[in-house]
């Protein structure tokens, strides 16, 4: 199966974000979207998820997709713990199973704390694991490793490789080494 983006364009008033974007993504493959800041990577992702409408062009094969996104912001419920945040999107998963997964990424004592008390890096890991454990069939990550130190970044990439389970992954990044590490095909998006 293929997902096609045909001649997609988006502008805000007079300002064009991108035009004539054409992509063909194969189901189960990994893609890295590389582009300078402000060229509409996040906007493109939002259009794919149905959170914004494109001004021109069309999407083929996306209508039945269940996305599992990592947003640029962590978008976690701050008042509850990491286990509950993940079970919010996967209520069928037993709390103990989620705990086990989290313990590979976070210190044990942090699991009893609300995520508001987590560091930025810890929140990022929870956000990443939430996407990977969700039942979504299309992983859409917007700069998922941004803000992580080198060691954590490597661990996070390893986690993605391990937990992707053959699902399509499209992620935005500024670093070619991240694309290489995940065996991704690089897609470039140029300004305008």
């Amino acid at each position: 199966m293929e997902f096609q983006i045909e001649d997609l364009g988006k502008s805000y008033g007079e300002k064009s974000v991108f035009r004539h974007v054409n992509l063909c993504l194969k189901e189960g493959d990994v893609y890295c979207l590389m582009a300078p800041s402000g060229t509409g990577k996040t906007t493109l992702f939002r259009i794919l998820m149905g959170l914004e409408a494109a001004d021109e062009g069309r999407l083929v094969g996306f209508d039945r997709v269940h996305f599992a996104p990592v947003f640029q912001e962590d978008r976690l419920c701050m008042g509850i713990g990491a286990v509950k945040n993940i079970r919010l999107v996967r209520p069928d998963l037993p709390a103990e199973a989620v705990r086990r997964e989290l313990l590979e990424l976070l210190p044990a004592d942090s699991l009893s704390q609300p995520v508001s008390e987590f560091s930025g890096g810890m929140r990022r890991r929870v956000s990443l694991l939430r996407a990977l454990l969700s039942s979504g069939d299309f992983l859409l990550f917007d700069e998922p490793f941004e803000g992580l130190d080198e060691k954590t970044r490597a661990a996070a990439m390893e986690l993605v490789k391990r937990k992707r389970e053959g699902r399509t992954l499209l992620f935005a990044s500024h670093y070619p080494e991240e694309a290489r590490a995940l065996g991704a095909e690089i897609i470039s998006l140029s300004a305008g």
């Binding site: 149905g50 996104p69 947003f71 912001e73 978008r75 419920c77 008042g79 509950k84 919010l88 969700s134």
Partner: protein, 250 residues
């Protein structure tokens, strides 16, 4: 930082200062029909509380005002939610809420007295005063919900019940708590004022009115002290319930 004990001592000292000042002024005025001191007030409270009529009046007013508050809380919460999720409902209710906010309580009291009689007057007035406060704060609280979290829940197809509990409820809770803090005091003040005008049988308002008619100033002060104490306890109890409901379940 001040210790708990030091804070308690400070608060007690402040309270004592004002009580002594009150006692001093009442001694200086020396006309009990004008002003009674704290001791006379306390003595009147103790004397009144020994009668069955006192407790019946307290219970009746408490039930009427409390019921009016509870009804307004439920209706305000429901209508506030409807107004947020169905903006047409908000537009439809807008003139009514504006009317409730701007019409003087005294006008409502007289109208309610004509339409419904004195018995349930404080219930109706309490409802009319509390409803717009809860309604407007519910709508404002829901509007303050984190849009990014709502987008996340939409994309991840989070269940509606979980969305309400984990995303809407934390946004709504602080608005509801502060709305209740204002509304609880208002419901008491307006409810008792309505009772003073309508003088329903066995009510605090009726007793206040009688104290005024018979110039029993010590009883007037005693009933005022009872209103303050009941309002304080009512506020604490309701806020405790709301805060407990709002707290995250761990």
């Amino acid at each position: 930082m001040e210790s708990k004990r030091a804070r308690l001592i400070k608060k007690t000292a402040i309270l004592l200062f004002w009580l002594l000042l009150w006692q001093g002024i009442s001694l200086w005025v020396n006309r009990p029909i004008f002003l009674v001191g704290p001791w006379e007030t306390l003595a009147a409270v103790l004397r009144l509380s020994g009668t069955a009529a006192f407790w019946r009046s307290v219970f009746s007013s408490l039930v009427r005002i409390g019921f009016g508050f509870a009804l307004a809380f439920g209706a305000g919460l429901l209508c506030g939610c409807l107004a947020h999720f169905r903006p047409f409902v908000g537009e439809l209710l807008s003139p009514v809420v504006t009317l409730m906010k701007t019409v003087p309580v005294a006008s409502f009291v007289i109208l309610a007295l004509i339409w419904a009689g004195a018995d349930n007057l404080s219930l109706i007035i309490s409802f009319l005063v509390v409803f717009p406060i809860i309604y407007l704060n519910t709508a404002a609280g829901l509007s303050s919900t984190d849009g990014q979290l709502l987008e996340m829940s939409r994309v991840y197809r989070v269940r509606r019940s979980a969305r309400i509990w984990h995303i809407y409820r934390p946004a709504l809770a602080p608005y509801l708590v502060s709305a209740c803090q204002v509304a609880l005091g208002m419901s008491w003040k307006s409810g008792i004022a309505a009772e003073v005008i309508g003088t329903p049988e066995y009510s605090i308002g009726e007793n206040l009115y009688m104290a005024k008619v018979f110039f029993t100033t010590d009883e007037l002060f005693a009933w005022t002290a009872v209103i303050i104490a009941l309002s304080f306890l009512f506020e604490k109890a309701v806020l405790l319930l709301i805060k407990r409901a709002a707290r995250e379940m761990s």
